[in-house]
């Protein structure tokens, strides 16, 4: 290490957190570029992190490069704050970034790192959402060559992706993509919005919060800046639809815990009775609703069969 680079102790805060300043600068520069060109997959020098790639190292590096003292960090995995992955990530960041605090409360959080979900509680402009991305390029399903994909992105030529949707409708009468729904940002680049369900895609449109995407293995970051157009690919006469969670009788299913009829529901089977049970995937949203209204609906069954 260069001796001249050693900082006086009272300026030690300059070198904050797990990543060194050089790494942070490099990632921030990539993020600025990504924000300037909404939806553009910006390369960055993805570091080795003390966890396997595929465990959110791309998202983690973004978080570590923008986090600061006083930050209130929320980490969710599949909508839950208490899953092993989420807890591991949050603990790692808390341990390496002194002066930040963890929270499960979406409203209190200033920085949210997430896998598979965008919180139900609408985000604000003073919040940043970081999404973990396993595969960064939506065109990879139709074109194996990266240089050809780059040209297609550059020219905004998504005809082959749209052809895939066409084939879907031919085969199944509807577009069957459930996660990673290709979404056009600011009228040009189409992104893979990470494995969020279709339900969450409209939340990116004109979002108050900045949304950042990080793919560690593929060494790419991209962004949906606040108040930016995000339009899922679809046909004029076969519009994009979100999951509607209707039961056999066409009635909107509700959360068995909090009774919410507007949230993304997870389905589980009650082994004993063989019943399908539905509850909010966003655990913080569900808990908050419960604590506000009391556990009136706990144990209430819905659905059937």
């Amino acid at each position: 290490m260069n001796k001249n680079y050693l900082l006086p102790l009272d300026e030690a805060a300059y070198n904050f957190g797990f990543l060194d300043e050089y790494a942070k600068k490099e990632i921030r520069r990539a993020l600025l570029k990504a924000i300037s060109i909404p939806g553009y997959q910006t390369p960055f020098a993805s570091r080795e992190m003390p966890m396997g790639k595929g465990f959110g190292t791309g998202g983690l590096q973004i978080t570590l490069s923008i986090i600061g003292v006083g930050e209130k960090l929320k980490v969710i995995d599949q909508g839950a704050d208490d899953s092993v992955n989420a807890v591991n990530l949050r603990q790692f960041i808390e341990m390496t970034c002194p002066g930040i605090s963890g929270t499960e409360d979406t409203e209190r959080a200033s920085l949210i790192q997430s896998r598979h979900r965008i919180p139900e509680t609408p985000l604000r402009k003073d919040q940043v959402l970081v999404l973990q991305v396993p595969y960064s390029d939506p065109l990879v399903v139709v074109e194996p060559s990266e240089s050809k994909r780059k040209t297609m992105h550059g020219e905004g030529d998504y005809s082959r992706l749209l052809t895939k949707l066409y084939e879907d409708i031919v085969k199944y009468d509807e577009i069957t993509i459930s996660h990673r729904y290709p979404t056009r940002i600011n009228g040009h680049y189409v992104i893979d919005p990470s494995p969020i369900p279709r339900f969450d895609v409209p939340k990116m449109h004109m979002s108050n919060a900045l949304i950042l995407f990080g793919a560690g293995r593929e060494k790419k970051v991209y962004a949906v800046p606040p108040y930016t157009d995000a339009t899922p690919l679809a046909f004029d006469d076969v519009p994009f639809r979100i999951e509607d969670f209707r039961d056999e009788n066409g009635k909107r299913r509700v959360c068995r815990r909090c009774g919410a009829d507007n949230s993304f529901l997870e389905e589980s089977i009650n082994d004993a009775a063989g019943l399908k049970l539905h509850q909010c995937s966003d655990s913080n949203y569900c808990n908050r609703r419960l604590s506000l209204s009391g556990p009136a609906r706990i144990g209430a069954e819905e659905g059937g069969i």
């Binding site: 066409y166 031919v170 006469d237």
Partner: protein, 276 residues
């Protein structure tokens, strides 16, 4: 008649190329390979004009370089030398000097290509209709119902039964695959269609139907075409003018009737005689 394509001095050399390449190759030497540097002179100094609604034949044996001409026009190959002007409505494009994005645009919107091998022109992992949809989706058609309607029209024009529309063309006969290729090439109503040995290897009766179809398209849509073939019969049936190619050079050109009835060049005479 309005000119649609003007090609001047088109050459394509595979290899390092030396100053002697031109002198050491051609019909006179009966070879395409330069004995000095081993480069292959696929075509040399080709000039031709194509007019609206016209079918021009490029005839030659395999190795004559006839496919190289259409491949350079369709941007599948980069020429070593030469110019090509494409006249489209009031626009004029210098094919080999415009940027790659413009070239792709012309390729996707204004040109149609039908290859000898359906594998090159079709994507077998999607349906026949999907192949046409892909080309339509490159333009500004984003209405599923309209896309299906247009794909169905195109397939019925090329005599592909509507019930095959949602099947992969990999399951089709060779003749039907070519008809899907033609439908796909016509999807954007291009003013220029390039056909590279499209009936080779097909049964005679199947060939005849495809040739009829090509004539119908010319009559109904007024599409200008360049037909590359080794088959005198194809040239006679389809084309008004013909270019005869040997070892990458034009050895004879003129009205097809004249070229076939009264060939001037010894090589053409030999070709015509062997076909009789």
């Amino acid at each position: 008649m309005k000119k649609i394509l003007e090609i001047r001095g088109l050459s394509k050399v595979h290899g390092h190329k030396c100053p002697l390449c031109c002198d050491f190759t051609g019909p006179k030497h009966d070879t395409n390979i330069c004995r000095h540097c081993n480069s292959i002179v696929a075509i040399h100094d080709i000039s031709l004009d194509l007019y609206e609604g016209e079918i021009l034949g490029i005839m030659g044996e395999s190795g004559s370089g006839k496919s190289s001409i259409v491949k350079t026009i369709f941007f599948d190959e980069i020429p070593t030398d030469g110019d090509a002007l494409f006249f489209d409505n009031n626009e004029q494009y210098s094919l080999f000097t415009i940027n790659a994005a413009r070239q792709r645009w012309l390729r996707n919107h204004r040109f149609g290509m039908v290859y000898q091998s359906p594998h090159l022109g079709l994507n077998f992992s999607i349906s026949a209709g999907g192949n046409i949809a892909e080309r339509l989706l490159m333009s500004d058609l984003f209405h599923y119902g309209d896309i299906r309607k247009r794909a169905l029209e195109l397939l019925s024009r090329t005599e592909v039964p509507s019930e095959r529309m949602d099947q992969s063309p990999g399951k089709f006969s060779g003749g039907m695959q070519q008809r899907v290729q033609i439908a796909k090439a016509l999807a954007t109503r291009p003013p220029l269609l390039l056909l590279d040995e499209v009936t080779s290897g097909l049964d005679l009766s199947v060939q005849a139907r495809i040739l009829d179809l090509i004539l119908e398209i010319q009559r109904d849509l007024g599409t200008a075409m360049i037909v590359v073939t080794h088959d005198l019969g194809v040239v006679r049936l389809l084309t008004g003018r013909t270019i005869v190619l040997k070892n990458g050079r034009i050895v004879e050109h003129g009205l097809t009737d004249q070229v076939l009835e009264d060939p001037q060049d010894a090589y053409t005479q030999q070709l015509v005689a062997s076909a009789l």
